[in-house]
Amino acid sequence: MGYDWRRIPAEAVELNILRCFHKDLGRGFATNALLHDGGQAAMGQDLKHTVIATNRLISYWKDDFSRCGEACEFVTPEAWV
């Protein structure tokens, strides 16, 4: 979980997700990264940091897996049923 409904910088969102990612990686499970593109308070809530963190995380994962000779696979929950 990225805890991105709070007003935190994009780097903090990125680190929250990567912490869960490394935990799941160590257990050998796939990762479900939960972020927020809206808020329950009102329309137009500022979630610019989620957009920035998403861009960085996808680049990070693609580089990380390709360096290890594997392909990172972005899936939806349909792939787990």
Binding site: G26, L34, G38, Q40, G44, V51, T54, W61, C72, E73
Partner: protein, 286 residues
């Protein structure tokens, strides 16, 4: 006499403390010398009872190739991976590139890394002939969806798979900026939409998401705290959101993300009765 000479070589800054220690501790000569040595080092604690820092192995240079941890010695051969199917296929290696990427004070430079792919192990002929021994060696697989209703979806044991899920949308304009980022990287994601669908602009623009391959799912109509709501209201919220989504998307909705992680058993039972599958952020089933 020995004690006096020790105090004389002590720096003036610590002379008072050393003198007190000399008078109170009988074996003070060695103690003062060690204290003096410790206090001359600026970054080490002055506590004489503190242990020295552990000697960690040094990180290799960034140009050095990342290699898996060495296998066990000949006296203890490497285990067959089929005999331990739940052991993670990763070894802990040092990778300084990770530490630069994470840029965290907690980062130590040690991360899980994948070993190089190896040839599949061949089964001996005598084992292939015995069906009972082959069945005994078949690894037990964790069920993907547990049969009892208090659990959500369970991920596979494929660490290369990553699912990006977004809650509480659509939110103009950030949802649509996000769609542009995902399209740029050619990545599919899952969006759990809620009450914002009542607004006309997101309704019209949400029709674009399935065309891009994204999955849109249920997140209730008004985002209530389902843990403390009666079952009738929970079912009404789920039904209304399903109806709104199916009206916009013209497709059935199959997934649900519990709000605030509320996984009360009767909430999840209502979710399953409506044909939805709960998805949480801790999908590892533990």
């Amino acid at each position: 006499m020995l004690s006096v000479s020790t105090v004389a070589v002590t720096p003036p800054k610590y002379r008072k403390a050393c003198t007190v220690q000399l008078s109170s501790v009988s074996t003070s000569c060695r103690w003062v010398n060690s204290t003096y040595c410790i206090r001359n080092q600026p970054s080490v604690s002055a506590n004489p009872y503190s242990r020295p820092p552990p000697q960690l192995p040094k990180c290799p240079s960034p140009s050095a190739p990342v290699r898996p941890a060495p296998s066990r010695s000949a006296r203890m051969p490497a285990p067959d991976p089929r005999s331990a199917p739940h052991a993670p296929p990763f070894s802990l290696v040092c990778n300084s590139r990770h530490s630069r990427a994470c840029a965290s004070p907690r980062t130590t430079g040690w991360h899980y890394a994948r070993p190089a792919p190896s040839a599949p192990a061949t089964t001996p002929a005598r084992d292939r002939s015995s069906s009972s021994s082959a069945a005994a060696r078949t690894p037990w697989r964790f069920p993907q969806v547990l049969p009892y209703p208090s659990c959500g979806l369970v991920t596979t044991r494929k660490p290369t798979q990553i699912a990006l899920t977004y809650d509480d949308g659509p939110n103009d304009p950030y949802t649509f900026r996000l769609l542009e980022v995902l399209a740029e990287h050619e990545v599919r994601a899952t969006f759990f939409y809620d009450w914002s669908l009542r607004s006309p602009a997101p309704r019209d623009r949400s029709r674009r998401s399935p065309a891009a391959g994204h999955l849109i799912s249920n997140h209730t109509m008004t985002h209530p705290l389902l843990l403390v709501r009666p079952s009738g209201i929970v079912r009404q919220q789920l039904r209304d959101c399903n109806a709104a989504l199916e009206d916009v998307l013209d497709a059935p909705v199959r997934w649900f993300c519990p709000l605030h992680g509320g996984r009360r058993p009767d909430v999840l039972r209502a979710v399953r009765d409506l044909g939805l599958t709960p998805v949480t952020w801790e999908c590892d089933g533990v």
